[in-house]
């Protein structure tokens, strides 16, 4: 089972008042496209409150909200870029926050099927040039191609 990324899963110029507004928007988007169940939205918001997913990187903050596999129909990642950053609590921290303008919402199924994808994604988060590209590129198809190449690698083909 391969995860999906395509133009409809790339959202640029997303406007959100705060992280919860953002999570709701992205979860609804994934739900509308059929990748996640109705229950995903509440689950991903609840989980973010307990297990925060903000990550300070070499090129600003990113976040990887996700939740339990039972709320997912089909694995996918939703890439969202914000017009104005919102604060996420830093993963593993009680209350310290990081300003986030790039969010990759993960709809995950079983762990080991997506191990390459997750590792590649973290590789991108550790690569300043890659992050800068994702934060500045304005052509959706270019972003889709970049993610396919760098995150999905050959595993999706």
């Amino acid at each position: 089972m391969d995860s999906t990324i395509q133009q409809e899963l790339v959202l640029l110029n997303v406007e959100a008042t705060d992280k919860f507004d953002l999570l709701e928007q992205l979860a609804c988007h994934l739900q509308k496209l059929g990748y996640v169940k109705d229950s995903y939205k509440d689950a991903v918001i609840a989980r973010e409150k307990v297990f925060a997913t903000g990550l300070p990187t070499v090129a600003g903050g990113v976040a990887i909200p996700h939740t339990d596999a039972e709320h997912v129909n089909e694995p996918a990642i939703c890439f969202a870029r914000l017009t104005k950053p919102v604060d996420f609590v830093i993963m593993g921290d009680d209350e310290e926050t990081v300003s986030v303008d790039l969010v990759v919402m993960l709809a995950m199924k079983e762990p080991h099927a997506q191990i390459d994808l997750l590792q590649n994604l973290m590789g991108v988060f550790q690569d300043e040039d890659a992050l800068t590209y994702l934060k500045t590129q304005n052509d959706k198809q270019n972003i889709v191609n970049f993610i396919k190449e760098r995150v999905f690698n050959n595993s999706a083909e």
């Binding site: 070499v58 990887i64 993963m91 921290d93 993960l106 995950m108 191990i115 590792q119 973290m122 550790q126």
Partner: protein
């Protein structure tokens, strides 16, 4: 080779960030010729494994004093920031 150490690797769901951390830690163990048994789990499952654990690596908030074994934060394996330091810490615990 050292005596086998049990390493718990936990995150909120037990499927996302702990997967990444587990892979890296297994690689570190191999490179340093360290004998480890990695158990990947949800944070809420950690107490069930506490009796046999020698180390907990987690990406979540944790009360480190709650456990009898060392607890190390795994976020550097996701962001790359501070990675060398946690690798050194992990190797030290596993070599002991």
């Amino acid at each position: 080779m050292n005596a086998k150490k049990t390493v718990l690797i936990a995150c909120g769901t037990g499927i996302a960030t702990s997967t990444v951390v587990s892979t890296v830690v297994q690689k570190i163990a191999n490179e340093n010729d360290l004998n480890v048994d990695i158990i990947q789990c949800k944070m809420m499952e950690v107490p069930g494994y506490a009796d046999r654990a020698d180390l907990l690596i987690t990406t979540t908030v944790v009360d480190k004093d709650q456990y009898k074994f060392p607890v190390i934060g795994g976020r550097p394996f996701l962001t790359g920031i501070g990675k060398d330091k946690v690798i050194a810490e992990i190797v030290e615990v596993l070599k002991a």
